[in-house]
Symmetry: C2
Subunit: 489 residues, 2 copies
């Protein structure tokens, strides 16, 4: 279960942790922060045995007391577990509010740390409360529907009414859809994870955008697929994706066509048509993750769904209420052929047995008010985008980005390939970030940083100030580029 990292490799991973003015706290504090950051980013995998205090002290040329004190701090924070005779290995901290990992929100601590690691909007409390109050009210009728045979509550496909509402939405968007083509899942992540489980087998080749949403890559990696990254930028997909399809003829391709996470790119209608045609020629299934489709911010007309170009059932659409409404509902869905939907429902009996009933009733309520609720969300996000952009221009003028026309974040180009170092320094300044390499497959992307604009405006401004301080720290230290470490987790 454990792997081991040598003091030499760890020293290399940590290069630059100590130089500079010392920031907040002494050497041990900075060392423990640097290690914690790499655990959070998956650069040091969980359960990696760290070198002995003596070895690491030798490698980093610090006293053994510094290492002992850094390890003690990591243990205290939950990043390290130690056992007499067995050494110390990395672990994931159990935050009081239950958050974990770099792309799950809630790292915001009592210490005032701000979380820019995760791009997820908070709940609009009144709307959430309305939805669940309506769901509780709808429950008697729902239970009654089961009639004399009381409802056991297991619905592997999802409730018929919700499936019908989702099918209608697709139909209204120009993709005629029957109820049999819809499966309700545990959020968008549940959809991707279930699809990976059913469709992908060991050594199957899967194409994924590079950069992309790391939790999707993780779900695909769990099936021991071979992931092949295809570059995408804020400018979009160009022809590389279709060429990669033609060349490698993968089993599956995973794309985020709307406000691609993290680049923000929006796939044009022509690119969609091209993608589907190339997938058909290659015999590839396409998962189009529409999680962000409700979030155009410039009033623009959206291109047709990728599924609109499908002629033979090879496009699988994943959707979710998490980004346009609230992640705490855990409502997602899959649109596919009735046959695949049946297979997915069958597979669920050994995974989760279905989505909770009341959240589905709440989702029906939310879909009924979707226009109004999404309008509120868009207005919030527009304000967040404006605030973040203005603050960055003021305090970090050397950063560049293409203004995204929707979604939840900016994909910022740094002036130096120092995303991990900047993320470390930002952590010391009280901002949690996910470094660029977390969005890639091979530890590259050190020149990029994803900055979500989902926080409150005052927090966004404060984040940028702290980021500027972190940047000054790097400048003062004269931190240089170092070979990026690969993402192993």
């Amino acid at each position: 279960m454990s792997s081991v990292i040598s003091s030499h490799s760890l020293g290399k991973q940590l290069s630059g942790w100590q130089s500079g003015d010392g920031g907040h706290g002494g050497a041990a504090t900075r060392l423990s922060a640097a290690i914690a950051q790499r655990v959070l980013d998956g650069q040091i995998p969980l359960h990696t045995r760290l070198p002995s205090e003596r070895d690491l002290a030798g490698e980093l040329r610090v006293s053994r007391t510094t290492i002992a004190s850094a390890y003690a701090r990591l243990r205290e924070q939950g990043f390290l577990a130690s056992k007499q005779g067995a050494g110390s290995w990395t672990t994931m901290p159990d935050r009081s509010n239950g958050a974990v990992g770099p792309l799950v929100p809630g790292i915001v601590g009592d210490d005032g740390t701000l979380d820019m690691g995760c791009a997820a909007p908070g709940a609009t409390a009144s709307a959430v409360i309305d939805a669940y109050t309506a769901a509780a009210a709808a429950l008697p009728a729902e239970l009654l529907r089961a009639g004399a045979h009381a409802d056991h509550g297991y619905h592997p496909y999802g409730l018929g009414v919700l499936r019908a509402a989702l099918a209608e939405r697709f139909t209204a968007r120009g993709v005629p859809t029957s109820v049999e083509q819809i499966l309700v899942t545990i959020g968008g992540q549940g959809a991707i994870s279930l699809l990976a489980h059913v469709l992908v087998h060991e050594r199957d080749m899967v194409l994924i955008e590079q950069p992309s949403y790391p939790n999707a890559a993780d779900a695909l990696r769990r099936t021991r697929a071979r992931l092949v990254g295809v570059p995408v930028t804020s400018q979009g997909w160009d022809d590389t994706f279709a060429e990669a399809l033609a060349q490698s003829r993968p089993k599956l391709a995973y794309v985020i066509p709307e406000f691609q996470n993290p680049t923000g790119a929006l796939m044009t209608a022509a690119e969609r048509e091209h993608l589907v045609r190339a997938a058909r020629a290659a015999g590839t299934l396409v998962i189009a993750d529409e999680s962000l489709v409700d979030l155009p911010l410039d009033g623009q007309e959206m291109p047709p769904p990728v599924a609109a170009f499908d002629v033979d059932g090879r496009v699988i659409t994943v959707g979710s209420l998490s980004k346009s409404f609230w992640g705490g509902m855990r409502i997602g869905w899959i649109r596919a052929t009735p046959r695949l939907i049946r297979d997915l429902a069958s597979a669920r009996s050994s995974i989760d047995m279905g989505t909770p009933v009341v959240d589905q009733l709440a989702a029906i309520h939310v879909l009924g008010r979707a226009e109004e609720l999404v309008a509120v969300r868009r207005a919030e996000l527009r304000r967040g985008r404006d605030t973040l952009e203005a603050s960055l221009r003021e305090h970090l003028p050397q950063r560049q980005w293409t203004r995204p026309t929707g979604g939840l974040s900016l994909w910022v180009t740094l002036d130096r390939p120092l995303s991990t170092a900047l993320t470390d320094a930002a952590g010391r300044q009280g901002v949690h970030l996910a470094a660029g390499p977390r969005f890639g497959l091979d530890g590259t992307l050190e020149r990029f940083l994803r900055l979500p604009f989902t926080l409150h405006e005052a927090d966004l401004r404060e984040c940028v100030l702290r980021l500027a301080a972190a940047n000054r720290e790097l400048d003062e230290r004269g931190t240089h580029w170092r070979a990026p470490s690969s993402v192993v987790a």
Copy 2:
């Protein structure tokens, strides 16, 4: 993706389908029902290509029209898909209410079919409504708790308040438990599936009771573990389990200590102690699935939890509100070491990102009223058990069983090893059953049948009448025992 079944093998699987008085409907109807039953039971795996009409007609010595008409009926019911040139393959029907498979409820059709395939109690409507009304009322405070940093709703560990309530319950049962030892899951199935994913790797050996809960076996099988069945009967575990641990030293053992599903056996305190000691000697982790622990029906004192005998963190406890309250909440949990809990929470970010928030709030309400609600459930189940037993004694006196002291079902011994044939005949009489072999690993257990007493009393009586009619059908046909087919799904 597809396997093929020869007409000879299929003919063997279907032996006896046609003999007897014909029951309801002609040869094609009976043939399609027999095939559908085997698909539902996993005896014919999904995506198995069935023989051509001509071949099967030859094998079964019926007209090709009969086969064509049986296949057409299966297609209509969703058990078969066909494509010009590619033949016909088995699929799982998409029931209007979303049910699938033999152990997921809801097979009850508009045609009056009664479902005894699944042992899950229906919702107590008023209690469910109360719980979710309370949850909706608790939501503002919960959202407020996130303060200025709005709640994103992702809680991979579960809400702190629910974890605390669950930890307290364990502590009150004599197993001191901290919040860090609890993870909230998507029902008990989500717990088992997540544990299998994190703990079991390809070719690991996993011990499982035989018979056992099929969906747990499926979850373990998905990891490509080697499952080894250890016999358990209504009389309990005897020494075989400990011996098997000593001999095979498996990675993991999965047990249901309370009212074991399906045998109903209750593990004594001495057996628990013995089990944990043997597991420690063998270096084996034990999953104790406590799904039915709240359901003693004879007012007896319950033995301590298996975890009470644990000295070194090798017992992992799985619990759920599905059986004592309602499956539609999808609330389950895992109690384990803080380190394992952290690993499980990390793994969730690529699986489901956590359990929905409002269901967790509803669960807190339910736990607060647990005594009262469970008392109602027990009284219902006692009445169900009495009714089922009385009906069986009256109409099927040749059946035997040991009265279970708790749980949801009887494990009935048939007078002949004809569980699958009886299940087929019962299907024609309008009762859906899961045949004995579905609870085993190797197609044996043809002499057993699980009969849940979770239905309403009138339905239970009707089920037994239909079962008696099915039994008469077998008698009249003089159906003989046939070699059990193996369970491949």
